[in-house]
Structures are given as C-alpha cells and as structure tokens.
C-alpha cells in the first residue's frame, strides 16, 4: 500500500484477500452480501431454535426471561435487517445490472461502501452478545420501555447505533440502484420492457430511500434521549410515547414491502422460465407492485389498533389495509395464470416458487383477519400474529430467496446445484415450516401470548408447542442440506453453461460466471424477455432446442481491452470511519478518552476516505 501524500494507488490485484477488500465489481459485492447475509440467516435461525427449545415444554427454566427477551429481539432484527434485506440486496447486486444490460451499477465505489457499512452495522448490532446485554425491548422498541430506566444496559444503545449504521448502508444502496435502473438500461429497454425482478428492485429502492429516513430520525431521537438526556419520549417532561410508534411504523410498514417485493420479483422470474411462457399480465404485475408500494404508506396504524387511537383512525386504517389485499391478490392470480397452460418443468426453483404462492397466500389471508380492527384486538400480542408474520416472511420471502439462490446459482458459480438434494431440502423446509408455524395459529387463537419466556401447563398449549419445537428439526435439516448442496456444487457441481434453464432475460446471455465486464457489447433490446426473443425470434411459446445465445464467447478474444474501473481502498476506509464514529458513544460511556479517540480516528478516516475518493483518478 503506497500511502504517499495521503493518496493510495488504485489496487489492481484480482485474487487474494485484498482484491475482495477493495473490489467494486457488482458481482463480487453481490457474493459478499450473499455470504454475509446467509451467515446471519443461520445466526437468526440459531436464536429462533433456542427459543423453540425453551418453549418445547411448559414451565421450562432452561433460558431466563432476560435472555429470552434478548433472543426474540435479536432474532427479529437479525432476520429483517441482517438476513432478508441484504439477501435481497445480494440479488439486486448480482442480477439487476445483468438484466438491464449494464457493465456495473452507476456508482461502483458507493456500492462497495454500502456493503462495508452494512457489515460494520451488523457487528455493532451484535456486540451485545459478547456481554449478554443484547437489545431486549423487541425489534419495535416501544417507548418508554427503551429509556435508561427500563433498559439500563447498553442493549438499546447497540440497537440505536447499529440500526443507524445499517440504515446508512441501506440508503446508499437504494440511491445507487435507483440511479442505475433509471440511467443504465441498455438501448431500447424502456421501463415496460424491464424484467420484472428489476422492476421490483426499482420499487423497493424507492421505498428504502423514503422509509429509512423516518426510522433514522426516530433512532436519532431515541439516541438523544439515551445519550444526552433529552425528552423526546420522556412522559414526565411532555414526551409522547405514541410518537415513537408512529415514526416506527411509518417506516415499519413500507419495510414489510421492502422485504416482500424483491421476493415477488424473484418468483415472477422463476414461474415464466419454468412454465415456458411469458409472465401473465406483465403490466398489471408492475402496476400492482407500484400500488402496493404506494398504499404501503397509508396503513401503518394497523400495527397500533391496540394503542387506542379511536374508532375513526382505526376504521380508516382498517380500510386502507384491506385495500392493499387487492393488488396483492391480483399478483397471486397473475402467477397462477402464468402457470395455466404452461409447459411446466418441475425443477427445484419451481418447487420453491409454487411453495411461495401457497404459503404467502395463507399468510395474506391471516393478514386480512387482523386488518379488521375488532378481530385484531383479539389477536394482538398472541402467537396468531407470530404465525402470520412467519407465513409471509418465511413462507414468502425466505422461500423465494432460497428458490432464487437455486435459480441463479449456475449464473453466479458456473455450476448447477444438485436437483436431488434441492428437492429434499425443499420438502424438509416446507414441512418443517408448516408444522412449526401452522400450530401457532391455533395456540394464538386460544390465547397464548407471544414474547413470554415460558407458559404454564394445562392451558391446552402443551401439545402444539412441542410439535412446533420438534418440527424445527426439519427446517434445520432442510437449510443444512441446502448449504451443503451449495458448497458441494460450487466445487464439483455439473458445469452449467450459459443458459441452463433456457431462460428469458439478459443475465443468461453471457457465460457463467459472467466476465468481469458482463457484456462484451452492450445489447440492444427490442422487446420484453429480451433473450427469449433473441433465441426464438418467430415463435412465442414453442421450445425448439436451445441455440447459443449472444456472442459473448466468440467476442471474448477481441474484448480483452474492455476497461473497467480499478478497485479502490477508499470505500473500506470510509466504512471504517463510519464504524469508529458508530462506536464512539459506546466507548465514551465506558471511558471518556476512549470515546474521544474513536471519534477523532473516525473523523480522520472519513475525511481521508472521502477526499481520497473524490480526487482518486478514475482508472
């Protein structure tokens, strides 16, 4: 590392640890996101398994109430912010530039910064485990449970600072993908010719750009209360505890769609590919997505029916919530109609996609039952809500993400995952998930409250809690098999070729894995399903033997000189600066000089990183 004059040479290596630390290639950043987020998915799964272990039998004393609170809080935070969101972002990174015919995202270095800030935010959020003082006030962190009286440990400090840093990462990523999708589409790719996954990434990025600021301000206010003694949520000094709930859910409900829209996009790619027909009603699916995103801003108070807002707000929010079911239902029917009359190939991704439709529909229907305020008052804080959210987030998002990994694995690694093991993992996860979360509908409706570390015997809950806990073993086996399958296939799987599924969109037009510049020549797009039209120019539904698509291989020789920007140290330096600033207040509470040191180091790193970034030569 040459550090003369404060400026670093741009690194040039393509292998080894430094090439990963300095990479700005969207595909490598996508892989980093995928591996990190899948790791946290397993961590969240361990947290959930420990809770099920505790709840397997009544009056269990295995895990204390305090640790249990930390477990359910961190399970939710981990799965939402460290697993499902970044797994979606992993697909944005890997797939969106390929689908729109671009060589990279609009701001490759900003993209690297997003990843490193995400990683450091995840570390800050999890710091509490080292002292067993993780956040314990629930992921929703209702005031005034979060003030220094009721949360005296550092737990909520990790929450505030971790989520602030993670929010920064999400915002940077969202800005980048909005610009990329607006401005880097290949010639001829109008908005309505854009692949459906890219559409959902586009909508999700807008939601992120507009929703993250609201929670950020909420966290800033909570952080001021905890660190500087302000009164935002201090009731005695005029603070309003409901204000936190509003700020949280104005973010929190669009967040739900941030979690599910990318999954819908993945499924909307898989279904047409394996039905060998175009997505039914493409414009309707797009506009349903837009409608969901728009209406998603008008439903937040349905999380607050039990807060006593009054009959008029409750009625309004119940109505808007039910209205959202319409575009969602439209999508479900579009997926079914895509299958209808198709030449269906039951490959593993298709299993996950069909599983998604079934489970997400069940979750949507139970969602409708708590859209009605009077019915919701019976369900609030019971296991029925837990069942609902796991049907939409596990049955929905995770099923789609596992299917998406299986679907795009050949493109990412150049090798196929094993179909045999894949189907086994699907059935294990599918059965396990239904037997774990299905019974929760029942125990919730007969009154079992959620977030309690144990329950008494003789309430009629014993059997189904035991079933739920034992069924977790199926999910562990299924996910374990999936990981084994991926690791084994990455080394010794069958070689995939460019287009193993005979798919429809441009990411399958180049070699697997793609060359670092993606497209030797930027394609010109003449219609929706650009690759399909290239392969089968005359027929819409016929499936003749595949012909080689594109000219990537032949052109390789001539395009050695395609010049992509070199890697850069500065994203990592900036992210380290943000990390140091993120832990400044924590260290300050331990010992003031440590805090000052971290603050000064953070500012120096951030200034060095950003000035180096700005004045870095472009190649």
């Amino acid at each position: 590392m040459a550090m003369l004059g404060g400026l670093l040479e741009r690194p040039t290596g393509t292998t080894g640890i430094w090439s990963w630390l300095t990479t700005i290639d969207h595909k490598r950043i996508g892989t980093l996101y995928l591996v990190t987020a899948f790791f946290f998915f397993l961590v969240g799964g361990i947290e959930a398994s420990l809770m099920r272990l505790q709840l397997a039998v009544p009056d269990s004393t295995l895990i204390s109430a305090n640790i249990f609170s930390q477990l359910f809080t961190m399970h939710a935070l981990t799965m939402i912010f460290l697993a499902i969101m970044p797994l979606s972002v992993a697909f944005f990174n890997w797939i969106v530039p390929l689908q729109i015919g671009a060589r990279d995202v609009a701001f490759p270095r900003l993209n690297a910064l997003s990843y490193w800030v995400f990683l450091f935010g995840a570390i800050i959020l999890n710091l509490g485990w080292f002292t067993m003082t993780a956040p314990a006030a629930g992921w929703f962190a209702y005031a005034n449970l979060t003030n220094t009286t009721f949360s005296p440990t550092s737990g909520m400090d990790f929450y505030v600072l971790g989520l602030l840093v993670l929010g920064t990462s999400s915002l940077l990523g969202a800005f980048n993908f909005v610009v990329t999708i607006i401005n880097l589409r290949a010639p001829g790719m109008s908005l309505m010719r854009m692949p459906i996954f890219t559409w959902m990434a586009f909508i999700t990025s807008f939601l992120l750009a507009l929703a993250m600021p609201v929670i950020t301000i909420g966290l800033v206010e909570l952080g001021f209360d905890r660190f500087f003694g302000t009164n935002f949520f201090v009731f005695e000094r005029g603070g309003d505890v409901l204000l936190w709930q509003h700020l949280f859910w104005v973010f929190g409900h669009p967040e739900v769609y941030i979690l599910i829209l990318p999954a819908m996009g993945i499924v909307s790619e898989i279904l047409p590919t394996f039905s060998r027909k175009p997505l039914f009603g493409f414009p309707v699916v797009v506009f349903s997505g837009l409608t969901i995103a728009f209406l998603g801003w008008s439903v937040w108070a349905h999380h607050m029916f039990a807060a006593g807002l009054g009959p008029v707000p409750d009625a309004v929010f119940a109505t808007t919530t039910m209205a959202i079911a319409i575009p969602t239902g439209v999508k479900v029917f579009n997926w079914l109609a895509t299958l209808w009359g198709g030449n269906i190939q039951l490959k593993t991704p298709m299993y996950f996609a069909i599983g998604f439709i079934a489970l997400f529909t069940i979750g949507g229907l139970s969602g409708m039952t708590h859209a009605a305020a009077p019915s919701d008052l019976q369900q609030t804080d019971t296991y029925y809500i837990v069942a609902h959210i796991h049907y939409v987030l596990f049955g929905g998002s995770i099923m789609a993400i596992l299917g998406g990994i299986f679907y795009w694995f050949p493109k990412m690694s150049g090798r196929m995952m094993s179909e045999y093991l894949g189907k086994w993992s699907f059935w294990l996860v599918f059965i396990g998930m239904n037997m774990t979360f299905g019974p929760m509908h029942y125990v919730g409706l007969v009154g079992m409250p959620r977030r309690n570390f144990t329950f008494p015997s003789g309430m009629g809950w014993d059997l189904w809690n035991l079933v739920a806990s034992l069924s977790v073993l199926f999910m562990i086996a299924g996910v374990g098999l999936f990981v084994y399958n991926a690791l084994r296939s990455a080394r010794s799987g069958e070689v995939a070729g460019d287009d193993p599924w005979d798919a429809r969109t441009l990411e399958w037009a180049m070699s697997s894995p793609p060359p670092h510049y993606n497209f030797a020549e930027i394609p010109v797009v003449h219609g929706r399903d650009a690759l399909w039209e290239q392969k089968y120019p005359d027929e819409e539904h016929a499936a003749p033997p595949p012909v080689p698509a594109g000219g990537a291989h032949e052109a390789d020789e001539e395009h050695h000189d395609i010049h992509m920007p070199s890697p850069s140290y500065f994203p990592l330096i900036c992210a380290l600066g943000i990390f140091a600033l993120g832990i400044t207040l924590l260290l300050y509470q331990m010992a003031a000089p440590l805090g000052y040191a971290a603050g000064v180091i953070g500012i120096i790193l951030l200034l060095w990183g950003s000035y180096g970034w700005i004045f870095e030569p472009t190649d």
Binding site: A106, I182, T216, N231, D240, L243, I522, F615
Partner: protein
Amino acid sequence: MAHDATMGQAEAHYTTTGLDHRKILMWVFLASDCLFFGALISTYMVYRSNVPVGPGPELFDIPYTSVSAFVLLMSSLTMVLALAALQRGNSRQARLWLLATALQGAVFLGGQFYEFNLFVDQGLTLTTSVFGTSFFVLTGFHGTHVAIGVFMLLTLVGASYMGRLKPKHHLTVELVGLYWHFVDIVWIVIFTVVYLIPS
C-alpha cells in the same frame, strides 16, 4: 473503444436519460432528505405547544432570526452567480461567488450559535422540556446541513485556488448548488413553522 467503456466518467457515456448519474443521485438524495426533515418537523409540530417546564416560544426574537434567514436566502443568489460564472468560463469570478456563498452560510451559522447561547442563558436547554428538545434538535439538524454545505463550498474554493476547478467541472458546482438551494428552501419551511406560526 476501450476508453469509452470506462465507467465513472459518466459525462463521456451513454446514459438512458441523457442525464449524468450524479445529478439523478443528488435528486434522489434530496427526496430522501425531505423525509428526514419531514419526520423532525412532525416531531416539532407535535411538541411545539407542549411546555410543561421552563421557557417557551416567547424567547424567539423574530426580527433577529429574520435577518439571518435573509442572509441565508441571499446566499442562494450568489450560488447561482457562481455556477453562471463557471459556465461562462470565468473561474476567478466563480471562486469569488463561491466564497461569498460560504461566508453567508457561515454568518447564518454564527447567528444560530449566538441564538442558541442566548436561549441557554435564558434557561431553555436541550433537556429542559420537550419543547427545548425538539427545537434544538430540529434547528440543529438544519444547522448541520448548512455546516456541511459550507464545508463543501470551501472545498470547491480550495480546489479552485489549486487550479483544480475548471469550467468543465461545472456539474460539480451545480450539484453543490442543488444541495445548497434545498437547505435554503427547508429553512423557509422551518422558519415559518417554528418562528412565524404562533402556537
């Protein structure tokens, strides 16, 4: 051909809309920033008439703050003049207008610092009441935006002295200008909501 394929030099490139990436990025950021201010202004609106202890809005000196608001608004004019000068190819004049803009921003920040001190002397601090909390955090958040803007403007002035801000870099100045105008417009809203509308 090889050179054309370089990313990051957006101006030399095909883009779908014909606009530079960085310009769209700035607009998306500003849209996002609206929600930051929106959430803070909402908080202030909830709390503005809630003064259970300590002094309240009677501390506001509207003529004083009007003057500093006027200085900030005028800085938008000099910002426009800076960009116009650079687009005409007059780097020297652009540098002077950038410096003038930064100075006006600094005057506004000085005024805010003085005002904050005055309020603290009169018994309204960050922790006195929920009114003080939401007032200082909202106006302080805006002041932080102004300070970052001044910092960027001074960076441009410094780059200009070193001969690194040439007329071909007019987009950079335009982007800083977009940010600067946004911060001014937000102040119009905050000034109206906080100082002018009686609670």
